[in-house]
């Protein structure tokens, strides 16, 4: 009589002694899915903070060239009497770069864990009940935003993309003339469209990111659970509406020379 019997592994987690030496607790934590989610959430909070401040700062555009360029110069002169010019700006930039690095590394290793946990995918279409469109497209919106940031830097920080497709008569990228550079960039319709599309991708990413970071950090007490979605909608709407208004304002002639 054929009987199937399964030989079983150790019954308790403590029965297996791991030979590996204990790692530094932060690395040990980062080795777990929960730790990687913490890393995603904390670096995400830093990046959301930057995106919000960036949008609010850019609203100075509506006050005119002088105010806007003064604000750009102010960023370079943060804490100037205490520290030399641009030092704080560079500290912030390195902080953001570190956050981006951690965010991408955690995302990649979580994706690897995800693939490993379901090595054979469902062979028929899924009918998702809970996972939103935003949550299922995080990888793609993330990649779109990442690539867009390179364009954005080339356009308005490094400047070499700022002159593409612009008449020589309209002048060239001028370091320090943030207002003029923005106007020159957004007067190119395809570029304005690119900014709008990229910001919608960013908003989609932020919606799920802001919502899920509460879950990742364990801030999901029933008392404020219902606020999580509202906060996520508010943050992503604010960022998208603010950022998308800039190219539209330039094209509509509200912001211009």
């Amino acid at each position: 009589m054929a009987q199937a019997i399964q030989s079983r592994g150790p019954v308790t987690g403590t029965a297996v002694t791991t030979k590996k030496r204990r790692k530094f607790f932060l690395l040990d934590l980062y080795g777990t899915a929960v730790g990687k989610k913490y890393a995603m959430a904390i670096s995400g909070i830093m990046l959301v903070g930057f995106v919000l401040v960036h949008m609010v700062g850019n609203l100075k555009m509506y006050l005119g060239a002088e105010d806007f360029n003064h604000y750009a110069e102010f960023l370079r002169e943060l804490l100037v009497p205490i520290l030399p010019r641009t030092v704080v700006l560079w500290l912030l930039r390195f902080g953001l770069l570190a956050a981006v690095g951690v965010h991408i590394h955690a995302a990649m290793s979580l994706t690897r864990l995800n693939r490993k946990a379901r090595s054979v995918k469902y062979q028929s279409p899924r009918d998702y009940q809970v996972a939103t469109f935003a949550s299922r497209t995080m990888r793609w919106t993330g990649i779109i935003v990442f690539l867009f940031v390179f364009w954005h830097l080339a356009d308005l920080t490094w400047g070499f993309a700022n002159n593409v497709g612009v008449d020589a008569a309209d002048g060239e990228f001028v370091r320090g003339d943030a207002y003029g550079n923005v106007v020159r960039s957004f007067e190119r319709v395809p570029v304005a469209v690119l900014y709008i599309v990229a910001n919608i991708a960013l908003g989609t990413h932020l919606f799920h990111g802001v919502w899920s970071l509460f879950q990742s950090m364990g801030w999901n007490n029933p008392k404020f659970k219902k606020w999580r979605k509202n906060i996520a909608i508010a943050v992503s709407t604010l960022v998208v509406v603010g950022n998308v208004s800039f190219p539209i304002a330039v094209l509509a002639g509200i912001v211009g020379k």
Binding site: M1, A2, Q3, A4, I5, Q6, S7, R8, G9, P10, V11, T12, G13, T14, V16, T32, A33, V34, L110, L113, N114, K116, A117, R118, S119, V120, K121, Y122, Q123, S124, P125, R126, D127, Y128, Q129, V130, A131, S135, R136
Partner: protein, 291 residues
């Protein structure tokens, strides 16, 4: 007056063991009562297949009253099908329409290897529960209902605590194939039983984690999910003529219970959660049949 559904097409995953790649096969149900349960519809199909000399479709089922957590099935891309909060066995054909095409797939997760067709091995969930520790205690028969008056809120909370029947749908539905919902549910302390005057029914910080139980839970799936070392991978053995697993010989070892004599003494059955195929009554029947 029951109605009948006509001309259903079923696309069912067929897979002959873990080594097989598997494929969808289409079947036609000409007519079925809308009062039939989903599993009864599969029974009818299997009867037809057996009558034609074809191999029946393997799927898990046991109590068929929605409490055991044995049935599974990904139906039209939803775990347990389109009806909220019920297991597949409580899904009825009235939820479908004539001429529907219904796609049926097994749970898919690396931790749940497909045994055959729609049947998967959910032993990792048992290992998570075992990791939390268990005791053996004679508790006698179930007491008569209402002998111990239980206040309604406590009874409700007890029902909530018992809501997870360990079917694995959370793992199947999770985009990450994670057992976090199961683990979280089993990690909650049995508060309703402990609730007395001045005690809260809400899980409190530190509850359940004080003895490291939840930590052991959490470390268990880390080994199980995808990265289980070879020596802990589930293995299937054929028992030898004495009904013993290979390597146990004629002489039962002193510290090994005599599985052939009394399956109820096997370490498996001292565990809180034996795999469904290994429950003692099943083993006893099989042994009696062999003798």
């Amino acid at each position: 007056m029951s109605h009948h559904l006509e001309n259903l097409t079923l696309k069912i995953w067929r897979q002959n063991g873990q080594a097989d790649a598997g494929h969808f096969e289409s079947y036609r149900i000409d007519s079925i009562s809308d009062e039939a349960s989903f599993l009864e519809m599969l029974d009818v199909l299997n009867e037809k297949l057996i009558g034609e000399g074809l191999e029946a479709i393997s799927f898990d089922h046991d109590c068929r009253e929605g409490i055991c957590g044995t049935c599974s099935l990904m139906i039209d891309g939803q775990a347990h099908g389109p009806q909220r909060g019920t297991a597949t066995c409580q899904l009825h054909m009235r939820k479908f329409k004539s001429n529907d095409t219904i796609v049926i797939e097994p749970w898919r997760a690396t931790a749940f290897p497909i045994l055959k067709d729609l049947m998967v091995d959910r032993a990792p969930l048992d290992r998570i529960v075992e990791a939390g520790g268990f005791i053996t205690a004679a508790t006698g028969g179930a007491p008569d209902a209402n002998i111990i008056p239980i206040p309604k809120p406590v009874a409700d909370a007890a029902m909530d605590a018992a809501e997870c029947i360990g079917c694995g749908a959370c793992v199947a539905a999770c985009p990450n194939g994670a057992a976090n919902l199961f683990t979280g549910r089993k990690g909650e302390p049995p508060q309703p039983a402990a609730a007395g005057p001045g005690r809260t029914l809400e899980p409190r910080r530190g509850d359940g984690g004080d003895d490291g139980r939840v930590l052991r839970f959490v470390h268990q799936p880390r080994r199980v999910r995808g990265s289980l070392p070879e020596e802990h991978q589930p293995r299937l053995h054929r028992l030898d003529a004495q009904g013993l697993p290979p390597g146990q010989g004629e002489e039962p070892q002193a510290d090994q219970p005599d599985l052939a004599r009394d399956p109820r003494s096997s370490p498996i059955n001292r565990c809180g959660a034996a795999p469904r195929s290994m429950r003692s009554d099943w083993l006893l029947q099989r042994r009696d049949a062999a003798e």
